[in-house]
């Protein structure tokens, strides 16, 4: 899949999902408003009937029904300019709400119009229909009253009515979540496949070079009749070197596929880590000095008995020092240290080479990853060395860190726990 195809799919996908989400929100709001309006209408009808009943009940013919007002989404008041009998009111409210199918617990209160003081208040629980009455004041006939009805659990009641909508919204939300996750995975896979392609290109080039050399050399040996013995020797030596190189390259790729395919099996044994490091460093001193470089090493602790896979740990040390040398085109100065701290051996390998950009630093331990340089290949390699190093260190419950500054150098810090 091309980059642009992926971009188009992503954009279209995001537009579609956003559209669906907007439609969903719009209809959900609409449904909510509708429910709210219906509730409010039904309540008004019920209250109007209650008020009419109260009107019929009162002996005073001059009393007039004022107005039903909705003060908030769940609080209604009815002005009624006469005395109200709480028991009668409660029963009327209960019956009328029942008729209007408002199956909601409610609280009501009777208030005096002049000073808003409460005359009577009560809660009605529909499931039991027992009301706790507390008659505070027996109303005088010449006073004005109003009563208010509050539905405390109205929001949850409406939510209940919208249950199916909520279920669909949750479903949609899940779809969006899944979609985002899928996009994330696609991008990650895309990145991975690009890295793999780079690896394959690079590997083909690296494998082809020795192969071309071998085939050209063997042709020389086959075709020319007047080869001097020196020439034959030179070409034979080249064929020998190149086939060894080819073998090494293939082995390094195979090693990684073994690492990946089955669980890493480490043959752990006790050995002296400081002595091992010393041996490894010694092998590089002549190589580095031949390139006018220098190797400094400080092995602060002698005889560190470490339990681990000796061969793999040795490879790790080789890899780190080889990398330090490979990436030191400007100034070849390698420093290796070993010290012991809080039950851990700490090995550091530093160079004063090119360094690694900050945003590349966490990727260098990824399989196949090489800091991208296009077709400029200052350093040969497959991008497998540090991946291998990380796997081995992990296998020994250790950690590896990198500290690097561009054009100043890089330090790898390996910490390995010493198990006694």
């Amino acid at each position: 899949m091309g980059r642009s195809t992926l971009r188009i799919i992503t954009i279209l996908g995001v537009i579609c999902i956003t559209g669906i989400a907007i439609v969903q929100i719009y209809w959900f709001r609409k449904a909510f408003d509708q429910e709210e309006k219906q509730f409010s209408d039904r309540t008004r009808i019920a209250l109007n009937r209650v008020a009419n009943q109260l009107l019929d009940h009162t002996s005073d013919s001059t009393v007039q029904l004022e107005s039903i007002r909705q003060l908030s989404s769940n609080y209604f008041t009815v002005e009624f300019n006469a005395a109200i009998n709480p028991e009668f009111l409660e029963e009327a409210l209960f019956n009328e709400f029942h008729n209007q199918e408002i199956g909601l617990n409610f609280e009501y209160g009777i208030f005096a119009c002049d000073n808003d003081s409460i005359i009577h208040g009560s809660k009605v629980d529909l499931s039991e229909y027992t009301s706790v009455k507390q008659i505070i004041y027996q109303p005088q006939a010449d006073e004005n009253f109003y009563f208010g009805v509050l539905f405390p659990s109205k929001t949850s009641f409406i939510a209940d009515q919208l249950r199916i909508w909520i279920v669909f919204s949750i479903l949609l939300f899940t779809v969006i979540l899944f979609f985002t996750y899928a996009l994330f995975v696609i991008f990650k896979q895309k990145k991975l496949s690009e890295i793999k392609t780079d690896f394959i290109n690079n590997m083909t080039h690296e494998l082809k070079t020795p192969l071309s050399t071998i085939s050209a050399s063997s042709e020389v040996l086959m075709k020319s009749n007047n080869n001097s013995p020196e020439r034959v020797n030179t070409y034979a030596a080249i064929i020998n070197q190149e086939s060894k190189r080819l073998k090494q390259q293939i082995e390094s790729v195979l090693k990684i596929s073994v690492l990946d395919s089955n669980k890493l099996t480490l043959k752990k044994e006790l050995f002296d880590l400081s002595a091992l490091l010393n041996t490894v460093v010694q092998t590089y001193i002549p190589i580095v000095e031949a390139q006018n470089g220098e190797v400094n090493y400080e092995i602060a602790e002698e005889n560190i008995q470490f339990k681990g896979d000796r061969i793999h740990i040795e490879n790790v040390l080789h890899n780190l020092i080889e990398n330090a040398i490979k990436y030191s085109s400007n100034e070849l100065s390698i420093k290796v240290t070993l010290r012991f701290e809080k039950g851990k051996v700490i090995v550091t390998v530093s160079d004063k080479g090119e360094g690694i950009q900050k945003n590349m630093q966490r990727k260098i331990f990824d399989k196949f990853f090489r800091v991208p340089t296009g077709d400029v290949h200052n350093v040969k390699g497959f991008g497998l060395g540090l991946y291998y190093v990380k796997k081995i260190i992990d296998g020994h419950d250790g950690t590896i860190l990198v500290e690097s500054k561009l054009n100043e150098g890089t330090t790898f810090i390996v910490k390995l726990p010493v198990n006694n």
Binding site: H205, A216, V220, Y235, E242, G374, D375, V376, H377, N378
Partner: protein, 84 residues
């Protein structure tokens, strides 16, 4: 005067460069060798070159950049064989 054709071989692999150079010398060409992109451009500017054998993956400057630089320098009609 040497009337042999001049070839500039740009290859960073030591053994491969040796083998190619040796073969070309055998066939009567004059061969200049450059290890990396920058050296290739320098050699090209300095010497009369009829053909460039150019590796793509090179240290310092890649093969495409070398070709570009040479084209800009003077020889629009320089002959290349790219060797990937």
């Amino acid at each position: 005067m040497d009337d042999r054709r001049n070839i500039l071989l740009v290859e960073d692999d030591k053994n491969l460069a040796f083998v190619v150079k040796d073969n070309l010398l055998d066939r009567g060409y004059n061969v200049y060798h450059a290890n990396d992109g920058e050296q290739a451009i320098a050699e090209f500017k300095e010497k009369q070159v009829d053909l460039i054998l150019l590796d793509i993956m090179l240290p310092k400057l890649d093969g495409f950049a070398v070709a570009e630089a040479i084209r800009e320098a003077r020889h629009k009609d320089a002959n290349y064989i790219f060797n990937s």
